[in-house]
């Protein structure tokens, strides 16, 4: 199943946020969206996931989702968005409650998602008792439970410390390795974008326009190799020089706002 951003523009009142953004996410592909602060990355993701109506253009799906997918487009949120009154297993079960699955089937799906994310021991724990990294794991387990075709990840690591970020990045790479799921990964962290994405969409400062779409020239499985480091570092520098000037302008704009 492909996800298409088809000439998407958006305004919040008098504020132009996105301007004619188009790109296509192929089946099993991972696309990162980067750009200066306030360029509309998260707004674009909300539009792609159907949580926000664009002012113009549309988000479109091409092809059928996998037969067993309960929610083809599934978000992983920056702030985890866990129900604080529910245990870990109840949080993971939450999106399954209305799907018509029997209790036994739901239990099996939850068990599988908790096992895949290493949360089986924490099933009766409440979110407030977990670290940030573990909370995001619950968010990922909840997303996996509905067998998504495409994960929509809105800066999923930005609220976490660097060690936890590293561990979860390894988890993401593992989850996306077999190409069964695609992902749109919104981030301001260029290193994360390069490690995870097949292609990187660079947005301009507000209103966000597609400045460039850059393919990462190394296979994801080989990006940890020493031989690829130089190439990836050069790509990161190129990306930064593309964004730097606009990031400074955006930063000043935010300070003066």
């Amino acid at each position: 199943m492909d996800l298409i951003a088809d000439h998407i523009s958006h305004r919040f009142g008098a504020l132009d946020v996105l301007d004619d953004v188009s790109f296509t996410l192929g089946a099993g592909e991972v696309v990162a969206i980067v750009g200066p602060s306030g360029c509309g990355k998260s707004t674009l993701l909300s539009i792609l996931g159907g949580l926000l109506q664009p002012s113009a253009g549309a988000a479109r799906l091409r092809g059928a989702p996998p037969a067993d997918s309960l929610n083809p487009l599934t978000f992983v949120f920056q702030d985890f968005a866990l129900l604080p009154w529910c245990t870990v297993e109840a949080n993971v079960e939450f999106p399954l409650l209305h799907t018509g699955l029997s209790i036994t089937e739901r239990r099996a799906v939850v068990d599988d998602a908790l096992r895949r994310t290493g949360l089986s021991e924490f099933r009766t724990t409440f979110p407030k008792q977990l670290s940030g990294g573990m909370r995001q794991r619950v968010g990922i387990a909840r997303a996996l439970a509905v067998k998504p075709a495409i994960l929509l990840m809105d800066e999923p690591l930005s609220a976490l410390d660097s060690q936890t970020r590293e561990l979860l990045m390894e988890d993401f790479i593992g989850l996306l390795a077999d190409g069964a799921m695609g992902a749109v990964y919104v981030t301001h962290n260029l290193e994360e974008a390069i490690r995870l994405a097949d292609r990187i969409v660079v947005l301009s400062r507000r209103p966000g326009r597609v400045r460039e779409v850059i393919a990462v020239p190394v296979k994801r499985s080989e990006r940890g190799d020493m031989s690829a480091r130089g190439q990836l570092l050069a790509l990161q520098n190129d990306l930064w020089s593309l964004i730097r000037k606009q990031a400074i302008d955006a930063e000043r704009e935010v300070q003066h706002a």
Binding site: G50, N71, L73, F75, P84, W85, P95, K128
Partner: protein, 281 residues
């Protein structure tokens, strides 16, 4: 030629100076009534005030007609309980509070949720609530007597009205306070509206709703006493007024003690509810 600075003399180690402990400056600004010592301190303070009061009365420093001693209030309360009069009055008050509070709460929750969830209900509801909430509800009692007769109905309606407005406000405030990201999360999984209300908005608004219960319990107590003082033969309010008219100040204060105990009991009940329903906080 510039003279080069002489290299600094190495600083003498301060081994001989006595090391001082860094003074702790982080105390205070965290009052807590949970600690055992603080809890006991509260009871000791209460008992001390009662003892002083009793001593002042027993020594003849205070006229018992104006301020009966705690022991005489205790005796009056016991006599009231033994004669059955206490339960008789209390049962009327409890019935009025119970029915009025339940009616007001159910209506308040329904209207509060409607205001919190629907645009039209919000614009209409908030206008009416803003206009009617500030009216002292007891001022409506004569009108309610005119409409509903002189039985229990106007008293219950007065309590229900008072409870309704506070409940509606705390409920829609609670609905507004539910983090929007949780609602968006549920929507992103295609969770139906009714499930979002039941499983996201209701539990999210519950802290505010229970805080509202605490307020409405006090409002109901205030209104039942006021209403009973205006037009009732039985009830704690009527009893207190009657005792005042007859200068039976020990009985009057016995009635006040009963009201205080009732308020305390309701507070404890809500504490229990909070501990049970909001354990996740």
């Amino acid at each position: 030629m510039l003279e080069r600075a002489k290299p600094a003399e190495p600083r003498q180690p301060e081994a001989k100076a006595e090391a001082r402990q860094v003074r702790f400056r982080g105390a205070g600004f965290v009052p807590s009534a949970d600690r055992q010592g603080d809890w006991i301190a509260g009871w000791i303070a209460l008992l001390a005030v009662l003892a002083l009061w009793q001593l002042a009365g027993s020594a003849g420093l205070v006229n018992p007609l104006f301020l009966p001693t705690p022991l005489s209030i205790g005796r009056a309360t016991y006599q009231l309980a033994a004669s059955g009069a206490l339960w008789h009055h209390l049962s009327y008050s409890l019935m009025r509070i119970g029915v009025g509070w339940v009616l007001g709460t159910v209506a308040g929750i329904a209207v509060g949720f409607a205001i919190g969830l629907f645009t039209v209900a919000r614009s209409v509801g908030i206008t009416f609530i803003s206009a009617l909430f500030p009216i002292p509800k007891i001022a409506l009692l004569p009108l309610l007597i005119l409409w509903l007769g002189i039985g229990e109905e106007p008293k219950i309606a007065t309590i229900a009205l008072g409870v309704f407005f506070s409940t509606a406000i705390s409920v829609y405030g609670g609905v507004d306070a539910v983090p929007r990201n949780l609602i968006r999360m549920a929507q992103s999984f295609n969770v139906p509206f009714s499930t979002i209300v039941r499983r996201v908005i209701w539990p999210g608004a519950l802290p505010s709703i229970l805080a509202g219960f605490r307020i409405t319990a006090s409002v109901a107590l205030l209104l039942v006493v006021s209403a009973e003082m205006i037009g009732a033969e039985y009830g704690i309010g009527a009893f207190v007024l009657q005792a005042g008219n007859l200068m039976q100040t020990d009985q009057l204060l016995a009635g006040v003690v009963i009201l205080s105990l009732f308020g305390l009991a309701v507070g404890k009940l809500i504490n229990l509810l909070e501990a049970r329903l909001l354990h996740w906080r």
